[in-house]
């Protein structure tokens, strides 16, 4: 196995790990936005879950309790979002911003008060975290040329969340296109009046969509604090919620293209750490600070180039009032 080959495999493996929270959050955003509600609050839901999962895992010593706690808090935040955006017909962008700001303050305040650490939860022992899984046969096949190392280093050896995220893409696509709920969800984002006319409650449908958003953002946040990381730190989501939203828009609100957009951001992110101090042909050593801007610049370029004319759910952002 050559050095370059090993390097490539490690970048691919890092890409899968880095894409996981983005994919989960973006799929969460997909439910919300397809139902007609702008979700700029993915960041807050993820951060709330990351904190709750780490806090619950630290208090009970159980990763599973942590996961339930994370999903629970993200779902509560999603319900608050639904209450403001659906029941109260408040501005959806403002609601999302409010959630983001609120959680960014509340998590470190509670962490400091509960654990007497400055805005963090204690470092979690391996027993209170989800650890990487080794898939069957990874060691046995490692001798097989090309495929063996690829299986061992890229496919195997990830956290359960990584496989869960891949599964989630397929599941969400299935729900969206093959179930009654999915059909109604797509309809309510485009034409809520039609849904109302068919005798279906627009509000209940949107609440259910936001529940799905809460669960998926809960998984994304828990992955950060009790699987990939070992505890909560201040603003540990670091803009991933916004990036997930960008991936969703870039993926034209469809599950598979959205997941591919997340992979694109993730590979740029994975390459960034590898490119540190490496001299590239033609350009020389690229400063790592500038490489970190690549996913964002790419998003802007791609939005300007391809997605400029893409069609958002038609009723996106418009509060629905009955009987108009």
């Amino acid at each position: 196995m050559s050095d370059a080959g090993a390097e490539l495999l490690s970048v691919l493996a890092a890409m899968l790990r880095l894409a996981t929270p983005l994919v989960l959050a973006a799929l969460g955003g997909l439910f919300c936005e397809r139902s007609g509600i702008i979700d700029i609050g993915l960041e807050g839901k993820m951060l709330g879950s990351a904190f709750a999962a780490a806090a619950a895992a630290a208090l009970t010593g159980s990763a599973w309790v942590g996961l339930v706690g994370g999903i629970g808090v993200a779902t509560l935040l999603a319900l608050l979002h639904a209450f403001a955006a659906v029941t109260q017909r408040g501005d959806q962008v403002i609601t999302g911003m409010a959630l983001n700001i609120l959680v960014a303050g509340l998590a470190p305040v509670l962490a400091t008060s509960w654990f007497h650490l400055d805005g963090m939860t204690p470092a979690l022992p391996p027993t209170a975290r989800f650890e990487a899984l080794t898939l069957p046969g990874a060691a046995a096949f490692s001798g097989v040329p090309l495929l063996g190392p690829a299986y061992l280093r890229v496919i195997s050896g990830h956290n359960g969340f990584v496989y869960g995220a891949i599964l989630a893409v397929a599941l969400v696509a299935l729900v969206l296109h093959r179930t009654r709920f999915g059909l109604r969800l797509r309809a309510v984002g485009d034409h809520p009046q039609a849904i109302e006319t068919a005798g279906i409650s627009v509000a209940w449908l949107r609440y259910r969509a936001l529940l799905m958003t809460g669960v998926l953002c809960g998984l994304a946040g828990a992955y950060l604090s009790i699987a990939a990381g070992a505890g909560f730190t201040r603003s540990m989501t670091a803009g991933r919620g916004y990036l997930a939203l960008a991936a969703l828009i870039f993926g034209r609100w469809r599950p598979l293209p959205t997941a591919l957009a997340c992979l694109l951001f993730a590979v740029a992110d994975a390459a960034q750490t590898r490119l540190q101090g490496v001299a590239l042909p033609l350009v020389g050593v690229v400063p790592v600070e500038l490489v970190s801007a690549i996913p964002y610049a790419l998003t802007v370029l791609l939005l300007a180039g391809f997605v400029g004319s893409s069609r958002a759910p038609r009723a996106l952002g418009i509060p629905y009032a009955r009987g108009r």
Partner: protein, 344 residues
């Protein structure tokens, strides 16, 4: 009446959060109030923070009148800081205080420039401004980290900041008037700009076009208004205002360019604009409120160590939630209680 009740609800919930941390909410509120306006120096700090909030609040409000959400105040302030710092460092030694107006203009130009690109992308390509301005925040942060850590850092230093600006390019201080504080001439400048923004929106032709584009783009277009130009103008002016945060922060207080100096002021501009209902005078009041919260929160974390400074962010979040997202929560009930129709 209704905003006051919403704000009270936000404060009551904040008090409950303080209670949950094991501190006394009333002691916290009184520490907050004393910290914000207890003496001249505290008041000076409050007004100093309020200056930033007036600028970033206006930076959100102007594009909002054209129907555009500017979430890029953070990056616009950052790039404004870059250009004004370059002017201060390059021209300060030779021109002295004559470089001050140039540096102020440079700050505005930097912010405007950073808003102009998303504006152009929106007009020419239909790119979603919320996404592009957020991305431009990240890009500004990456570029500035690179420049400060690798290029502008003071030689032989490890702290990520530039060499100090020449003393002559400091924004004239107003600190001595109230007590020792970084309050400076940017505060009256920001107030004047709020007045100018009001006149622009209310009485100028361009301001009318901005409001028309926001109220109904189709009608505006039919009336011969260039909606794209109006949107681009409002976003660029907003960027220029956000850029001026650098004047208050760098030329008024820090006297050097340092990492992450916008420190969330750009983001909080969204809350300020919301609470001020996008009206320049309302924004000044909301900025004063947030300035007091900021300064009071700093004192609060000294007084009650179990409450961290993040409690201020919680209060801001709750204020945005109740005054923005849930603004209709109590409206119908109050209207009924007052005995007239819930028409508002």
């Amino acid at each position: 009446m209704v905003p006051a009740i919403n704000l009270t609800a936000a404060l009551v919930l904040s008090g409950l959060v303080v209670l949950a941390t094991g501190a006394d909410p009333l002691a916290a509120m009184s520490a907050l109030a004393t910290g914000a306006a207890g003496d001249g120096a505290s008041l000076g700090y409050t007004l100093y923070y309020a200056t930033n909030f007036i600028l970033t609040g206006l930076a959100v409000a102007l594009p909002f009148h054209a129907g555009i959400f500017n979430i890029g105040g953070e990056g616009q302030a950052y790039i404004g800081g870059l250009l004004s710092a370059l002017v201060c460092l390059a021209l300060g030694p030779s021109l002295g205080s004559a470089a001050i107006p140039l540096a102020v203009l440079a700050a505005a130009a930097g912010g405007a420039l950073w808003a102009l690109v998303p504006a152009w992308l929106f007009v020419a390509r239909g790119s979603h401004v919320v996404i592009t301005t957020i991305m431009f925040n990240f890009i500004a942060s990456a570029v500035m980290t690179f420049l400060i850590v690798n290029v502008l850092i003071a030689p032989g230093q490890s702290a990520p900041e530039s060499v100090p600006f020449p003393a002559a390019v400091s924004m004239p201080s107003l600190g001595p008037m109230l007590g020792p504080s970084p309050l400076n001439l940017t505060f009256p400048l920001a107030l004047m700009l709020a007045g100018a923004a009001w006149i622009f929106l209310r009485f100028s032709r361009a301001g009318f076009e901005v409001r028309a584009a926001g109220a109904n783009p189709h009608a505006a277009r039919a009336a011969g208004i260039s909606v794209g130009a109006a949107v681009a103008l409002s976003l660029t002016l907003g960027g220029a205002l956000a850029g001026l945060v650098a004047v208050n922060e760098l030329m008024g207080a820090q006297h050097r360019l340092l990492l992450d100096f916008p420190a969330g002021y750009g983001f909080m501009g969204i809350a300020v604009a919301l609470m001020g209902r996008n009206h320049p005078f309302g924004i000044c009041l909301a900025a004063l409120f947030f300035g007091a919260l900021y300064q009071g929160g700093t004192e609060l974390s000294f007084e009650l160590p179990q409450v961290t400074r993040d409690i201020v962010v919680v209060m801001e979040g709750l204020a945005v939630l109740f005054c923005g997202a849930l603004e209709n929560l109590f409206r119908a009930r109050i209207s009924r209680w007052l005995g007239h129709e819930a028409s508002a």
